[in-house]
């Protein structure tokens, strides 16, 4: 019954989305306010229907209703409740339903909080959002229906892939989808603006909160995914340039470029057609990613089980949505009037450089990801493009971007004094130089690259601090005056400083954990010890263990530092009988200084076990840095200027509490 209600709600949502996608457009063209107002109502009702449908599916999972085919294929009565719930989106059909729920959520949020938007723009934005929603609901209804029934219903389900039975599943997909589905709003705004034929600073101000919210969520989502892979997969890797990872990273790069170029539209009424293009491309890259992951054209550990029929449908969706927008762009964008002029050396110029490097970076990652596919399709054979390619091409592009970051934040609009700014950044340059020399002195010249990378990080962090210090005239007047200036600084300024500084933290984490990782591989008998990172680990053997839906072996390592016991690490090897799969769980001690990471290998003779102990210096700084970046974005979101009738960040909290 409930599954049928869910399906019915979805069909209803489809119809409403079609209405939402067409009538308001006509209303905007004819300037009929009643028809335009329909956009808001239908967006809200569509969201409620989709949410109800999602709720029905979640209910089926919670009560383990195996008569629903999707539940039978992906769930099991013995699964802990957290994974019954988050397992809703641990498969293709359920995750597509989450996809459209978030799409509808953003529509409803604009309907509810976008009252400051002019009627025609609001109607058009919601209409585009509705059309996209209709297309994807149709995709679900016709090819990926999660509510199909099984008759007779099996007594037990197939269970969920054990690697997915982890808290990471509860958070990583929702944040990820909030991010790259959220870019649909920027897309809708861009297409609406093209239809209107007008892009102005007001438009940039209206679109910014949505783009920023989506960007924050995507940053957090990617960081969570990376962290999850690190602690779950068992050897401490955290980024593999896997096609599916790249599919989420490319929209992030384009979205970051979009955030920066929208500033120029807002402040200087320039770079309009470029910003519109970026807004279209960010969501298009999300759609492309969806296609790559679900169509079966790529092999990846992340790829969903797929078939070519679905692939054709998604490809058609991608081409229709992106093609439609880009065609409109080709027709309308040339007539967008260019605005404020600026010299190459200026804040605008720095933002343009940022865009050049980020979009080139996105293009490079896209090239590497698609190349094997394209080559095979045209009969050029099979080639493998792995991490070494991306490291060789992408990383060098980012270095000038990071360096320019600090300088750009201090340049003035229209025409800037570069020498003056560089002079004011003396402190940052000195800090960077100091760090480079310190590392070379302590670690030797073999680590020169790491030293330089840490120098860049110091440049970023100290530079951000210098920028704030300048704005509040620190040390140039009484402290109380600086403090009151600090209180009065627009939040966006703090957001920028935090985000740019966080980049530095991220770079530190990546550099230290890559350059100075310690790996100890050996056979250990109970009682034997190994040292890494200043810690001593004593192995005390392995014992069998049992969990709610698994059984396995747990190794025990007592960790001491300077003779004091710090903790006991318990790496495990688990077998899940229901799914017939196994996992390894590493034993991890996370500290600010680094991670101690223990993995139990295979047993050997004489009670010895093969063990791997790693020390990853400062590795947690990677995810801390990414999360602080998202925090910086959120701080910017609370800026008073954006709240002139602009929507709050309610969107993120609403979904978090829906689970």
């Amino acid at each position: 019954m409930i599954a049928e209600a869910g399906q019915f709600a979805l069909i209803l949502a489809f119809v409403i989305a079609l209405v939402q996608g067409t009538i308001p457009l006509a209303g905007a063209a004819k300037n009929n306010s009643r028809l335009m107002a329909l956009a808001g109502t239908s967006a809200a009702v569509q969201f409620l229907c989709v949410l109800a449908s999602f709720g029905c599916l979640m209910h089926a999972f919670i009560v383990s209703d195996f008569s629903v085919s999707n539940v039978a294929q992906n769930s099991h009565t013995l699964k802990p409740m957290l994974y019954k719930i988050s397992g809703v989106w641990g498969n293709h059909e359920g995750s597509m339903l989450l996809w459209v729920t978030i799409l509808a959520l953003f529509g409803m949020a604009v309907a509810a909080f976008g009252n400051n938007l002019p009627d025609s723009l609001r109607a058009r934005v919601l209409a585009i959002q509705g059309l996209i929603g209709a297309a994807f609901i149709a995709f679900i209804l016709f090819t990926s229906n999660p509510f199909l029934r099984l008759d007779p219903a099996p007594l037990q389900g197939n269970g969920l892939n054990p690697i997915l039975q982890d808290p990471g599943l509860a958070f990583h997909p929702p944040f990820l989808y909030l991010g790259y589905v959220g870019f649909s709003m920027a897309f809708s705004f861009a297409v609406a603006a093209l239809i209107e034929g007008r892009v102005d600073p007001a438009w940039a101000r209206w679109v910014r909160p949505w783009t920023l919210a989506a960007w924050c969520a995507l940053t957090a989502g990617i960081a969570l995914g990376s962290w999850w892979a690190y602690y779950e997969l068992g050897w401490g890797g955290w980024w593999f340039w896997d096609p599916v990872e790249n599919a989420s990273f490319i929209p992030w790069l384009v979205g970051t470029a979009l955030l920066h170029s929208a500033i120029v539209v807002e402040k200087r009424d320039a770079l309009k057609s470029w910003t519109i293009l970026l807004a279209i491309l960010a969501f298009s890259m999300s759609l492309l990613g969806t296609f790559l992951v679900r169509s079966g054209v790529l092999t990846s550990v992340h790829a969903f089980a797929t078939d070519p029929e679905r692939g054709v449908f998604i490809l058609a969706l991608f081409l229709a949505v992106t093609g439609g927008a880009l065609t409109l762009y080709a027709i309308r964008a040339p007539s967008l009037k260019g605005g404020g002029l600026f010299a190459p050396i200026s804040r605008e110029g720095a933002l343009v450089l940022n865009n050049l490097l980020l979009t080139t970076g996105a293009a490079v990652v896209l090239l590497g990801t698609l190349y094997p596919l394209i080559l095979d399709a045209v009969g050029g054979g099979k080639v493998s493009v792995g991490a070494p390619f991306f490291n060789a091409t992408f990383v060098p592009l980012m270095v000038p971007a990071l360096l320019a970051c600090t300088v750009g934040a201090m340049l003035s609009w229209k025409r800037a004094d570069l020498a003056g700014v560089l002079g004011r950044l003396k402190a940052a340059a000195l800090a960077a130089l100091f760090v480079v020399l310190l590392i070379v002195w302590r670690k030797g010249t073999g680590d020169v690259l790491a030293a330089l990378a840490l120098g860049v990080a110091a440049w970023l962090i100290v530079g951000s601090a210098v920028e704030i210090a300048e704005r509040i005239a620190l040390f140039r007047g009484p402290l109380t005056q600086s403090l009151s200036r600090a209180a009065g600084l627009p939040r966006a300024a703090w957001g920028m400083a935090v985000a740019h500084g966080a980049l530095g933290i991220l770079v530190i984490g990546i550099t230290a954990s890559s350059a100075w990782r310690v790996e100890m591989i050996q056979l250990m008998k109970p009682g034997e010890t190994v040292s890494a990172g200043g810690y001593t680990l004593t192995f005390s053997g392995a014992v069998p263990i049992k969990g709610p839906n698994y059984e396995g072996i747990q190794g025990q390592f007592t960790v001491t530092r300077d003779g004091n016991e710090v903790t006991v690490l318990r790496p495990e090897k688990r077998r899940y009988p229901a799914e017939g799969d196994s996992t390894t769980e590493a034993g991890i001690l996370t500290t600010i200084g680094g991670d101690l990471y223990a993995v139990l290998g295979d047993p050997s003779e004489n009670e010895a076990w093969s063990t791997r102990i790693y020390f990853n210096p400062l590795v947690a700084w990677i995810w801390a840095g990414a999360l602080f970046m998202a925090l910086g974005g959120m701080i910017s979101l609370t800026d008073r200027r954006l709240r002139v009738g602009a929507p709050k960040r309610a969107s993120k909290h609403a979904v978090a509490s829906a689970e």
Partner: protein, 154 residues
Amino acid sequence: MTRAAILLSVLLFLPCPLAAVEPGEILKDPVLEERARTISKELRCLVCQNQSIDDSDADLARDLRVLVRERLTAGDSDDQVISYIVSRYGDFVLLRPPVNKSTAILWGGPALILLAGALGLVLYFRRRRGIETAKPLSREEEARLAEIRKGDAP
């Protein structure tokens, strides 16, 4: 008995993702071992998705790791070891794509894209500068403008 059974069943069904080099594989000579690790990181595990043989726990990965170490111990250079494997498995086993006719666009692409973008920027600025440096109006033109303006005044 049950303990052994649990042990056995856990070990038999381990999937690919698992840190991989076994203590027994490590070469005595640290220089050779280091070379083996570096080479292993460049070779793709063909049985898994997107992992090097250094990271993968698959049977084939282990065999290839041992093979790499054997060839190094026998005196092969890094390049010789890699071409030994490539001659059996093809270019696909390389995580770093080779530089040849088929991959020219791949390796040349990044620089080309950057140049194209930079060129676009240069053209953009040049066009803009054309607008900015419009010549100032001459005396007669200014007078004519004043005339026209007078006519327009409401």
